[in-house]
Symmetry: C2
Subunit: 393 residues, 2 copies
């Protein structure tokens, strides 16, 4: 009933190759956008139109081009809004300052720089703003300062400078968005979707690996344990990555199979449950390693119905893969109810696996490990039930 | 023997207040640096010297000023080196292009922009470079492009532009560093140190909370469980934060109690073990919640020597706090050997807590939960041993 682990490793290699290709495509895209935007400088008719301000277009491309479409779009919009708001307030402050004149002018400018700078920095420290609008606030600060101080020089037409800069930034933004969205687009939403799906598969493989390990001798165990250990740990550490991907995915327009206002929050919740599951599996592994004899000894003694344990394990593996596949095809799981019913009966079976009256045959340490194994399996089943519920929605 | 949990909550509030004060100081520092650097524009004699290039000084301050000294220093150095290298290569390319002349000029520039842009983007995707030098590579790309395309305009003295910009960036950098290092400096190394220390305390408190919960009725349990749950989870998710702090800490010069080349890697390793411990405690909690009766029932039955469990738990709590305090005072733990010996004997005691012959009195589900509880406690003891070893070094 088990798909051999080697096929999983092959998959892994393919994923790595695909990842490399994506990286190369991203590099080429950045190169193309940079050349396009440099044409503003290189071609004389264009340069005559925009002049030195073309610099801002180049800067925009270098700074906002990120590997996923959502990140680029998010940064671009942040930059645009930051520039407009910062420029607007900066212009007002500069005009006010010019009206004051004399020493009051300088004092007014210094004060406004101080107040706006401190306030904006404070906003950057608020977690909610930091997550989505950090870059926008930085650009706001930057634009405000540049506009207000250059407005302090006599003879500078503030409005004109601001307008021209905004235009060139817009050009850079358009180049970025076109290249990012229309040339082999890479969506953060796809990446998040597949990373969650592969977590399902990884955890299923880990449980399977655990069960296989059970029937091995001590020496063989030690080699494999580390591999599944690292998988669980990488799942545990996936939170920040998932969150930033979900953040970018929210910026992305309708595309492919994801509609507008697709429930990305749900993905984060599923990710949370998956992480809890990984923590349980980690504890499960330590149980298996703690029981020093191969489980063949258990089998012979018939105290623990080990075949049943194995059957339950493979049912868990199957369930995880099934939910993962269902999510892949984005269809509502029709079999959810039957899966839930199965899981419930599984849990009841598990509690009968150990017959307490016969447990006394074992050594003390062994008993504890076996009992914990069974208990943790029950907990795993419960978590999987929770997962099924989440996915159903 | 237990310090009441309320004192811990009070501590927590104090920490929050301290955090707020730090934020305010940071905001004020940013405001001061911005005003200082704006003086380049506002004061006429200074403006006559630097001219329009003062813009770059402002940009530098806005972009590199981060909340910890290490982050600011790291970003500043990255920006400096990126500007110098990018400017140098850009100048060479621009001079080469001017020698070619004609249409070849434009083609040469476009090609070099494309190649350098793609290559630099590729470097940004390499994890090791991304972690420490990401910003430097961005600045390198930016400077190279600006220099090479502005060099393409006839009559522009490339060297002079590059030199002036570098000087103003240097000014911005100096302002940032002075304000960041000499006005209420905030060190990433301190933050990492205290965050690891507080993790010790948090986990100790959680174990203590678990043990206290044992003796409560079901209803009371549900309220508190969530609180300790979130602590464990936040410990589990601390990896990326710790890593970035360690990254910044490496940039920081000698200060306070930390010498040069302080072993920050060690902190990351300790953090790793702490996370594993947190995963175990999470499993432990689910055991406690699974046993539906208050443990007073266990006590009366005398099958499980619950007093002993409690004693062992409080010894664990004591050990964790002890190691944490030792780390706080940065002294080599002299008592490590005695702590280790105690932990070892603790483990042996634990394996005798349950007498298998009498376990049959319980219901099936209860047995599993109790056995798991004891087993997981043993695992926790083992992890703590590992921790003691790490801290000793």
């Amino acid at each position: 009933s088990f798909v051999p682990i080697t096929s999983y490793l092959k998959d892994n290699k393919e994923i790595k190759n695909e990842c490399d290709i994506k990286k190369m495509i991203h590099c080429i895209k950045v190169g193309i956008s940079l050349v396009l935007v440099s044409l503003l400088y290189i071609l004389n008719p264009l340069f005559d139109q925009v002049g030195e301000n073309a610099m801002w277009a180049i800067m925009t491309v270098v700074v906002i081009f990120e590997s996923s479409a959502g990140a680029t779009l998010g940064k671009g919009i942040n930059r645009g809004i930051g520039t407009i708001v910062g420029g607007g307030i900066g212009c007002l402050a500069a005009i006010l300052a010019q009206n004051i004149g004399g020493v009051g002018n300088s004092i007014f400018i210094a004060t406004s720089v101080y107040i706006i700078g401190s306030m904006a920095t404070y906003f950057r420290l608020v977690p909610k703003i930091k997550n989505r609008y950090d870059y926008g606030v930085v650009v706001f600060m930057l634009t405000f300062n540049l506009v207000v101080v250059s407005g302090s020089r006599p003879g500078v037409k503030v409005w004109e400078v601001a307008r021209e800069r905004l235009l060139t930034i817009l050009m850079g933004f358009i180049v970025c968005i076109c290249v990012s969205l229309f040339v082999f687009p890479m969506w953060a939403s796809d990446e998040l979707h597949y990373s969650i799906l592969s977590t399902f598969q990884d955890l299923a493989n880990t449980i399977q690996g655990c069960l296989e390990e059970c029937s091995k001798s001590v020496k063989e165990k030690e080699n494999q344990a580390d591999a599944s250990f690292t998988i669980c740990k990488s799942v545990l550490n996936s939170k920040s990555k998932d969150e930033s991907l979900a953040n970018f995915a929210k910026w992305e327009p309708w595309h492919g199979k994801f509609g507008f206002s697709y429930p990305w929050e749900k993905y984060l919740k599923i990710g949370e449950v998956l992480r809890e599951l990984a923590a349980l599996i980690l504890a499960l592994e330590s149980c298996i390693r703690a029981s020093k004899k191969p489980t063949s000894c258990w089998k012979s003694s018939k105290t623990v119905q080990f075949e049943q344990c194995e059957a339950i394990g493979s049912r868990l593996v199957w369930t995880l893969r099934e939910i993962g596949d269902n999510m892949k095809q984005m269809k509502k799981c029709e079999e959810v109810d039957s899966i839930m019913a199965k899981l419930k009966s599984t849990r009841e079976e598990l509690s009968l696996v150990i017959s307490t009256s016969m447990i006394a045959e074992f050594e003390n340490g062994e008993v504890l490990a076996i009992a914990s194994l069974v208990f943790l399996l029950m907990e795993v089943v419960e978590k999987v039930e929770e997962l099924v519920k989440e996915v159903k929605e």
